[in-house]
């Protein structure tokens, strides 16, 4: 069986495997780029050094972001391993502290990501690149090492699921709320091993920033990839930025999906995923719990658009006296832009703490770890047990608008409580 009509995932994998592939088969396909970070890279470097060929240097991207600036001696050693590896193998695509930032936003900003590409990364949120119409997926360190050497990797061709979101979105409703709505609906393994395709008028109305948030959290439903059909907004973003050529890949009419789900965009409200699963979703207005920390940043929501949304709510207001608010722009570009637009003054005047780019607190590493019993409203992607710190600390996932409004109120609220 090889139906002629194909999904985006099937088309990209067919092109990269140089033959027509069908769902369920395992193929080796040519990868356009492979990215590793400072915690997944070192294992890949060790494995690669045991192989016998020169590195496919133009395909390799090295981005320290999790525990840099160095968290401690051990993480300093890991970051140094990456620096040394880049030097030894003459990898040009290496972005050290001060030049880079959170890997997924950086990969997109620097033009590595484009429609139709096959990109792998030793970080689960690599699926973010689906926002630009790429097939992108998270892999492990060992497989990253083999891609350094061969430029190919094995893939099981996934089934595809289609999610259609139509209708004009309400005020304060963002890409984060759409993906939380979907994950709340299908659960944390609702798209396990599948490629999600997310489309509809609500999606095409969104800026790229929000679309990246949607694709980013596909993994929280277990997806292998989360692809949004590319359009002119993607082309405009890539103009003058993209490396090499690209071609839009869209699904054929009549392509087969294992499931098609439709949502009315007009009915989606600001949402929150309560501990301890991203699928534990309720309207922000129903949460109401007091918070100790509000975190704005990460590959999910650390873009300039996210900072602007939060700044708009925080302007002329104060972060609640019982709350620490942390603002962490995802990359140097986001940081510079925020500085230029005066957003840092707004955050600082409101009593927020601002740092340079790092993944640190999102995964409970450093720069914002939670004490036992503490609660954080966070623009990040995971709220597992102990994700941002102590075992019995709690993470509530939400949009930048909900994070900012909650920081002001000292408890988790719908943004309309601050701005009607």
């Amino acid at each position: 069986m090889c139906p002629l009509a194909k999904t985006i995932a099937e088309k990209i994998l067919s092109t990269k495997a140089k033959r027509q592939v069908s769902v369920g088969e395992i193929v080796e396909a040519e990868v356009d780029y492979v990215m590793v970070n400072d915690i997944t890279g070192p294992a890949a470097f060790d494995e690669f050094d045991a192989l016998c060929v020169p590195i496919k240097r133009d395909k390799v991207v090295l981005i320290p972001d999790h525990y840099v600036p160095n968290k401690d001696v051990a993480s300093a050693v890991q970051a140094k391993k990456m620096r040394d590896f880049a030097k030894r193998h003459k990898v040009r695509n290496y972005y050290d502290v001060g030049a880079g930032g959170v890997c997924h936003q950086l990969m997109i900003e620097l033009g590595f990501v484009a429609p139709g590409r096959l990109i792998v990364g030793a970080d689960s949120h690599t699926c973010s690149y689906g926002a630009l119409g790429a097939f992108a997926t998270g892999i492990g360190s060992t497989e990253a090492a083999t891609v350094f050497a061969r430029g190919v990797l094995w893939f099981k061709v996934p089934e595809s699921m289609k999610f259609v979101v139509d209708g004009r979105l309400r005020k304060h409703v963002s890409g984060k709320d759409i993906i939380l709505r979907i994950i709340g609906d299908i659960g944390v393994e609702g798209a396990r091993y599948a490629s999600m395709e997310v489309e509809g008028s609500s999606i095409s109305s969104l800026p790229l920033s929000d679309r990246i948030t949607i694709a980013n959290m596909g993994i929280e439903a277990g997806a292998k990839a989360c692809i949004l059909p590319p359009d002119k907004k993607v082309d405009t973003f890539l103009d003058g930025r993209v490396r090499g050529k690209f071609k839009h890949v869209l699904a054929d009419p009549g392509a087969e999906y294992s499931d098609v789900r439709r949502y009315d965009g007009r009915e989606i409200v600001p949402l929150v995923a309560k501990p301890y699963l991203p699928s534990n979703v309720v309207p922000a207005s129903e949460v109401g719990v007091e918070i100790d920390q509000a975190y704005l940043g990460s590959c999910t929501n650390g873009r300039i658009e996210d900072l602007r949304i939060a700044a708009k709510l925080l302007k002329g207001r104060r972060v609640h006296s019982g709350v620490r608010m942390l603002v962490v722009p995802a990359t140097k570009q986001v940081f510079d832009r925020a500085a230029k637009e005066g957003l840092f003054k707004i955050f600082s005047d409101a009593g927020a703490y601002i740092s340079g780019p790092t993944c640190g607190a999102c995964l409970g590493g450093y720069m914002g770890v939670l004490a036992p019993g503490e609660r954080c409203v966070s623009s990040t992607n995971r709220n597992f047990v102990g994700r941002m710190g102590a075992k019995d600390s709690e993470v509530y996932l939400a949009s930048p608008a909900v994070v900012a409004a909650s920081a002001i109120k000292g408890r988790i609220v719908d943004p309309s409580e601050v701005d009607r």
Partner: protein, 165 residues
Amino acid sequence: MKKSLEGRAWVFGDNVDTDQIIPAEYLVTMDARELAKHAFEKAKPEFAKIVRRGDVVVAGRNFGCGSSREHAPRALMGAGVSCVVAESFARIFFRNAINIGLPVVEAELQTNEGDRIVVNLADGVVSNKSTGQNKSFAAYPPFVMMLIQKGGLVPYTKEALGCRR
């Protein structure tokens, strides 16, 4: 490939995420023994102290969801875990386990903590000796079986590249 694996069961529920298997603060080394010291530290604090070589992790659905950290299967290997039996696996964890040579099988097995579990990879049967329950599991796809037989992705890649060592 070892044909038959045997050990005591460590039982977990659904959606055991990689932060539970190995918390992120320990991702500053790839040393399997070092990682093993912190395996399941928040989920089952006694695990690292009393786990024995050969023990089997038995879990529910979506085992290993979350991060792509290969530290997770490595920590389990470092702890001596011989196999993970789960109703289903998150895909990156599944790939990582196969690629580094940790056997993972999909089966739904009624298990209590400490039950004697035997996994026969060649015959595709997992047994709970304490309850007498046997469950067969689907064979791996041929490509995956080939990777397992070669000892993981690195030996396969060396062969594909014609590396001598």
